[in-house]
Symmetry: C2
Subunit: 277 residues, 2 copies
């Protein structure tokens, strides 16, 4: 199999993907996006650090390392175009990139993937490159949702779908029929952190957990670029928000380190479940 | 004209309504809902303080004061039914009230209004009882939105409508095409407060204001019970979030003290505008 080209944004997903791909016996070359990719993990792989404004250099680096298949994942901050390092191709494409960025983060991701495809590279989804990370139907740990939890899960999926169609967010928290929080630009962790600031009558407590977190792919999103992701940190944050559990769409979400997520969910008494909504 | 019965929840709307109605020459009798209504303003009016679990006593008090027309407004906290003071009628209706409360705050408000209507009282909207508070088409102060602001206003209205149809929230903030925040159970002020925690590249700054707040009636809501409300505090909070302005649906939102809102918006350099979306 050819070398996989991983164009890496921020967060825990890119290193999990790199590890999963390498463990499956395939070599990985990483393009770390300057200003987005954090952490030292790229040092473990052949890599270059390049600006999203240098698509010409990105394509040349990928091809020089024998890459035919490419995967873009992780969080890409909306760049400050005025401060961005640009190569010739970047300057040429800048007006289109700015227009894409104005339409939302997803449009920007699709734009970058599109440039790679125009150059003859094949864009893979995380599910294709690292199938072991995809959430399956059923409980991840020992706990399972009750019928009341199932009703809240269905309500939260309806909210996330409605919002996702408008490219707003990927996540919502519902507690006994009431929407406690909806994600926009702040991200899932910040959304979970504010649950505790709500009136106690609306939410769970340490003594009595209530409410479910649902994360789902936006209908406007391409599974190639931005599946929702749950990791050990998500389980801990849901626990700190006094939630009963987390639900994901089976086949349409990623679980980073399934064994560790199951162990943490069991330890903290939460369910983590893949469902077919 | 008969005495207006004002069943008052929390927030700034009930005192503004009471003042507007009295200034129009009509007498007001206030039922302050125990646990929801705050502040000393009820002392200026004939009133009784009663629990939402005492619908029998509420109806008797209204009728004893010659009330034929009633208006319920202000924030009603989802009650802790186990701790609520109940009269005989309250006990009888409790199962229905709990079922309504589970469907969301709006269902609970509609339930209380329904009890009044079953007893032969006529439920008025704020627009009917205090027409001077209704937002009109056009700018409230001196500032007006630019074409770019208009695009963000349209995007935010689309988000609020989609969410409102699911009984989630009334407000959203959009900045140059990106949804920065969406309101759920935390309320508009808490939503505005978190804008500043977002990455600076996404939002406005003190030096360069960006983004608009839109508040709109939920499609599931009855204008009789819960029109969105903007006051001087909303203008100040939008300013603190570095927004460019606030947009409301003309005829479907309330402005508490229009002159004061216009003066504060002008002082802080924000637009406040009623639009027909």
């Amino acid at each position: 199999m050819s070398v996989l080209g991983l164009i890496a944004g921020g967060g825990d997903l890119p290193p999990a993907v790199a590890r999963s791909v390498r463990e499956s016996g395939r070599a990985v070359f990483v393009v770390a996006l300057a200003g987005s990719t954090g952490g030292d993990w790229v040092q473990d792989y052949p890599h270059e650090i390049l600006s999203p404004g240098e698509p010409g250099r990105i394509i040349r680096a990928l091809k020089a390392h024998g890459v035919h298949e490419v995967l873009l994942c992780g969080r890409v901050d909306r760049p400050k175009f005025s401060e961005m390092k640009l190569d010739a191709k970047g300057m040429l494409l800048l007006p289109k990139a700015i227009a894409a960025a104005k339409k939302g983060d997803d449009a920007l991701l699709r734009f970058i993937v599109g440039i790679c495809e125009d150059e003859g590279l094949v864009a893979l989804s995380v599910a294709e490159a690292a199938p072991g990370l995809v959430c399956r139907d059923g409980a991840v740990g020992a706990m399972t949702p009750s019928p009341d939890h199932r009703a809240d899960i269905a309500a939260a999926f309806a909210i996330v779908r409605a919002l996702g169609a408008l490219d707003v967010g990927q996540a919502a928290v519902v507690c006994e029929g009431l929407a406690l929080a909806v994600e926009a630009a702040e991200g899932t962790d910040a959304m979970l952190a504010r649950i505790e600031t709500l009136r106690e009558s609306l939410r769970g407590t340490a003594a009595r957990r209530r409410g479910v977190l649902v994360k789902a792919l936006k209908p406007t999103q391409d599974a190639k670029t931005d599946m929702p992701v749950v990791g050990v940190a998500t389980v801990r944050n849901a626990h700190a928000a006094h939630l009963s559990g987390i639900a994901l769409e089976a086949g349409q979400a990623l679980i980073l380190d399934r064994a560790a997520v199951a162990a943490e969910a069991d330890r903290l008494g939460l369910f983590v479940v893949g469902v077919i909504p």
